[in-house]
Amino acid sequence: MKSPYTGLKPNRFWRTGVSEAHPLTVPDLYAKKFAIAASDKIATAGSCFAQHVANYLRTNGFSVIDFEPSPHFLSPETAKAFGYGIYSARYGNIYTVRQLLQLAQDADSGTVDPLNIWTKGDRFYDALRPNIEPDGFDSPEEATVLREQHLAKVKRLLRRMNVFIFTLGLTEAWVDKRTGRVFPTAPGTIAGDFDPDVYEFKNFTYDEIYEDFVEFRDLICARNRELKIILTVSPVPLTATATDNHVLVATTYSKSVLRAVAGSLADTYSNVDYFPSYEMIASPWSKGFFYESNMREVNSGGVAAVMRVFFDQHGAIETPAPGETLSEEARPEATSERRPRRSRERTPRAERPRPATEETAGERRGKRPNKRAPRAERQIAAAEGAQPEAASERRRRHKRVPRAERQMAAEGTQPEAASKRRQRRERAPRAERLIAADGTQPEAASERRRKRANERTPRAERQMAAAEGTDSAGERRRRRPEERVPDAQRQRHERPSRAEAKAARAEVKATRVKGKATQAKSKATKGKATKSKATRAKAKAEPTEAKADEVVCEDILLEAFNT
């Protein structure tokens, strides 16, 4: 009997793929559709879960761009309260695909609708991103002008990004009946007044969401043809529903529709990938371990587990230049578009605006084009009379393609999963391998060392012997006395001519230099290992911040739905 399930990979079966798998081992859960290069400019947007993605990407050396960075002197907390540094522009949370489409359309046309300014007391709020000014704007003019500025930045962002990571959050939204505009929060929560004649509730369907996304994709890709999109679905359940259903039923509907749309889009378009963060957190597999006690907020362990799977496929980029791309974007605008101003006073260096992620002097030095080869290498090159390698050539040689990509290129296959690689690397203990090799009991290490010590002749003697091409002193010692050469002869033999001695010294020197080069190389490798250790430690620390983000997110949603 033959079944179509015969011979399938273990991850195709629930028992081997899920029941018997630990949620932290994550075997073969996700295979990337396309690679993210170190030079790719990544933009993030979506519901609050997307904030974590951006944090982790930055920490792991990806170039996450920010077209509206925080002004200097705002503390990180204040900057966040003003919507800076959360996403790639100051658009706040984008919960629905319709909201995303609207933003892209507005950015394209520069449209600012005065109807979208809400009030609260004597303050004014941008209804399409009401959370970005904690106390609102002073005037409708200020709100309008700042939105125009924001849209201009978003327009540039949408054209310049290479990878767009979007987290789909909700299907439920509130719509202005007059204009068809959807809002991230219900009117009357953060600002504005809820008027049932003006606003209505909308629960988007599969078709609507799918079509909205296709429209968004077409709009963006028309001007940004190489764009790659990664979709995720937020595993954070609804705080409240405006439907007549139980919130659990409403959540399941919402997430199911979003998940289905994301999957369908990824199946249809080659530049759209789906990353299964939702499955990792929300499925029975994780047994709810990745949720906080309210079973809604995702805990730091959950975010870390999700991102581990992401980096397992996309790898952490070794060249830490997240701020570099940012500054590339920010600097030309800052210089060319600013109003010309005569200023006699230069801002002190320490106070000048800088990219969000700052490069250390050491890192800058490392990037300089005149970076020299290590001394030992230069000495070898000089000794061998070789032409020194050009700096550009060295840089090219050092810049390695991520392992998974190299593997793919070589084999024309999908890269091997990290877990498999680890498994493959797991070597049997040395002693066992020795037994296996020759069927004997292994020799104790101390015994081997002792043997080696006895067998070896002193270093100077070995060098001399090498230079002269004669017997080693050890061999000479081992000869029987009757075989020994007479003393006078030996002396002649042992004392080389000046030229010979010089040649021997030169060779010894060359050997030492080579040795030094090897040491330097191994030191450099160790340094890399320490760096990656530090990166992992940093990534471990990140979840604390991530947890705080979740709490903020919770508050926002509570406000949004507490009508």
């Binding site: 002004p71 200097h72 002197f73 705002l74 503390s75 204040t78 003003f82 000014e133 904690p134 106390d135 609102g136 704007f137 002073d138 003019e141 200020e142 002008v145 700042l146 500025q149 605008e333 800052a334 578009e337 600013r338 109003r339 010309p340 101003r341 005569r342 200023s343 006699r344 006073e345 801002t347 002190p348 320490a350 106070e351 605006p353």
Partner: protein, 274 residues
């Protein structure tokens, strides 16, 4: 007995304070002695050890010794009050506008970083939160409950308008909006750090955030008198500020105490006579 002992810690703006004190035109100065620790250095850091503040930088130590008459450290418990002069505390809109703009700027041309008024006020607050003045205040407060007053960096002289070419610096409506909020925020910040800000005398203010030109004439810093100076003010300005500060402190000062700067400048017998 040296009366009410006031310790002045400052940067170049302490020059005007020093000269104002020495000029003898401050009526309220009776009963006070003043010791000045000032340095031109743009960033001053001090170690806090054994109840004293000791500059990290030998050049600052040297300046401290020069301005205080030989003291290279500030012994905190020797003083009844502290006056922090300048030290990065204050509101300098011209400087803030070099880092970011408000929407009013767009009426005069393009701008890259445009922030809301509310955000601008937070930026001003953030700048002051990182000032040396608050760092010293914290160090002093760790050892002393004495009043700590802040004499903020004077507003830039109105003469600077012609040099800066920024129309928003003279936009009355904008300044009326931003300045009172900034002043309230910066005062609140000082209060949260156990300090009190003495804003410049209303008589010296041309527009919100700008000092009248006449107070920039003959401006002094620590070392010299400068005819055209877009940052400093003259001793007449400092006289007005010191009057208010000393009156505030005067409630605690003995009436017949000496009035001199740097008590060690005066021989003990002179002090006794005083």
């Amino acid at each position: 007995m040296t009366g009410f002992s006031l310790c002045v810690i400052g940067n170049s703006h302490a020059g005007a304070v020093w000269q104002a004190w020495k000029s003898g035109t401050i009526a309220a100065r009776q009963g006070f002695s003043m010791t000045v620790f000032a340095s031109q250095a743009s960033s001053v850091e001090m170690d806090h050890r054994d109840g004293s503040l000791v500059p990290d930088d030998p050049a600052v130590s040297e300046m401290f010794a020069f301005t205080s008459g030989g003291k290279d450290r500030i012994e905190i418990d020797k003083y009844d009050a502290f006056l922090l002069v300048g030290l990065g505390y204050g509101i300098d809109l011209a400087r803030t506008f070099t880092r970011c703009n408000v929407f009013e700027h767009l009426a005069h041309g393009s701008a890259d970083i445009v922030v809301s008024h509310a955000c601008l006020v937070e930026i001003v607050r953030g700048h002051n939160a990182k000032s040396a003045a608050l760092a010293f205040a914290g160090q002093v407060r760790a050892d002393s409950a004495a009043p700590i007053l802040i004499y903020p960096t004077p507003f830039r002289p109105e003469t600077m308008l012609s040099e800066e070419n920024d129309p928003c610096l003279s936009d009355q409506a904008l300044l009326d909006n931003i300045m009172p909020r900034s002043i309230a925020t910066v005062s609140e910040l000082a209060s949260q750090n156990g300090c009190e800000v003495f804003w410049q005398h209303p008589e010296t203010v041309a527009l919100p955030g700008l000092t009248k030109a006449k107070f920039a004439k003959g401006a002094v810093n620590l070392r010299s008198s400068i005819e055209r100076d877009s940052k400093h003010v003259n001793p007449d300005f400092a006289v007005l500020s010191l009057q208010a500060i000393l009156q505030r402190l005067g409630q605690a000062a003995p009436e017949s105490a000496p009035d001199h700067i740097n008590s060690h400048d005066i021989e003990p017998e002179t002090r006794a006579r005083a």
